[in-house]
């Protein structure tokens, strides 16, 4: 499974588990303006660490944090290289 599809699957799973209303997981979705709260991101990041073996949020230095879903996917793709 690609990094992108792993990430999308985790988002979908957490949205379902946490009963969140997120319209569509489009590339330009601004993550913080979605219904996802800190806990949702914490769960997604923990599960992605298990699935992909990387946690770019803990490793990141001098890198801008992701704002959109597209940024988020690139953040992980770069870390997984």
């Amino acid at each position: 499974m690609s990094v992108r599809s792993t990430i999308i699957t985790q988002f979908e799973q957490v949205i379902k588990e946490q009963n969140k209303q997120v319209p569509t997981l489009s590339d330009d979705l601004v993550l913080l303006e979605s219904d996802l709260d800190s806990l949702c991101f914490a769960i997604i990041v923990a599960r992605l660490e298990d699935a992909l073996g990387v946690d770019p949020f803990s490793a990141a230095e001098d890198v801008d944090f992701p704002v959109t879903l597209k940024d988020f996917i690139k953040f992980y793709e770069d870390a997984a290289k």
Binding site: E17, I43, F57, S58, A60, F65
Partner: protein, 468 residues
Amino acid sequence: MPPNSRSSLWDLLSAGDRWSGRSLLGVDASVALGDLVQGSSLGGRIEELSGRSVLVTTKDQLTAALACIELDGIARRLVLCPPDLAPEHIPFVTKTAAVDAVVSDSPAPEAGAPDVGCFVTCSPRIAPADASRNGRERTEWVLLTSGTSGLPKMVAHSLTALTGAMVGAKPPETPVIWSTFYDIRRYGGMQIFLRALLGGASLVLSSAHESVGDFLIRAGASGVTHISGTPSHWFRALMSPSARQIAPRYVRLSGEIATQAILDNLRAFYHEAKIVHAFASTEAGVAFEVGDGLMGFPASLIGQGGGEVEMKVEDGSLRIRSARIALRYLGGQTEVIADQDGFVDTGDMVELRGDRYYFVGRRDGTINVGGLKVHPEEVEAVINRHPGVQMSLVRARKNPITGSIVIADIVAKSEPGAAGVPVQTDAVKNEILETCRRALAAHKVPTVIRFVPSLPVSPSGKLARFNA
């Protein structure tokens, strides 16, 4: 002027006319402190609240802030209800604090409000009022924090202790505008509220009903120079498209352990700002601030006597003695805040690596999920209800967004007649998770469940909770 134990907040603001030219800015309204000197947010009814134990239960932080300024020195006790206080806990809080007056921002008592005979409405519309203040109470400030039993712990402070970290601070050379992601009815937010008031600054208050982006836009528009929050707040801020709406000179982190990643990212993002992380607890007060950009704290802070704060490490946990610690817990509990030598055991376990100490968890296993405490026993009790569970251990897993998340290790029961093979299926896991979701708040539900063959047990036969 250093506060002495007889000075009220009002006295401190009046000394040297610290009222003019600054404001408390809420999401829906703002109040110039200068207006408060000539009027009242309480309709001038402070006489009625004189000597009383006052429950401050407002929806808005601004009204709570105004009530605190007016009532310190007048009320015998100010009990500050945090916004997430469960309604079913209000009778307990009322009884324990012997509440005999309620201040609210509703025009009339709402359903569930305690009926104690005295109800006063607090409003950001300052009404003209007689400015005479006759009270000389040494008001006790009561802050709530979560307790193991599910009931809140009520921690009593004096104003002197709450402002201990601000004594002797030099007045700023350039105007300061403070803001905080915290609610001021929590210890971390209260520190910023008092810091702003006594430091001659304005303060931009957050609101639970406002998005991070909107708050940052409002803070930026108000020209915020100093801003505080937990590492979780800061993660959200940095992921917001509005993160560049503020250009702070000072960024403060507290309430959770600051990781190197968040410190580095804040430094890179707000490169003009001094980045400081502080250690404080509701009971122990503000212990120290670290401004060298590194996580943990220098070992040289330990064992220094004679200063305002003394710290030591005993049995692996950080102990603090200072004039900033709380007076006591309210209620009949036997638990004391400080030991006979005056040290508070924070319960935070630290480890010395090189010349620095690092935080490695809580002795009692309490998990801090984005500033919200989770007591593992509560979650284990829910998990253990499942017929397939023999025992469980709920513990923290480090997380860059919320500091920690909750995970559970479970020893499964063997199916009768299945030759001792435990049932460890995904179906069982999902059933357990479903039970947890129904019974517990979202941050308490385990994110990951693992089946394990056995769990570590201490020599006393209890589950070994602390494993750094």
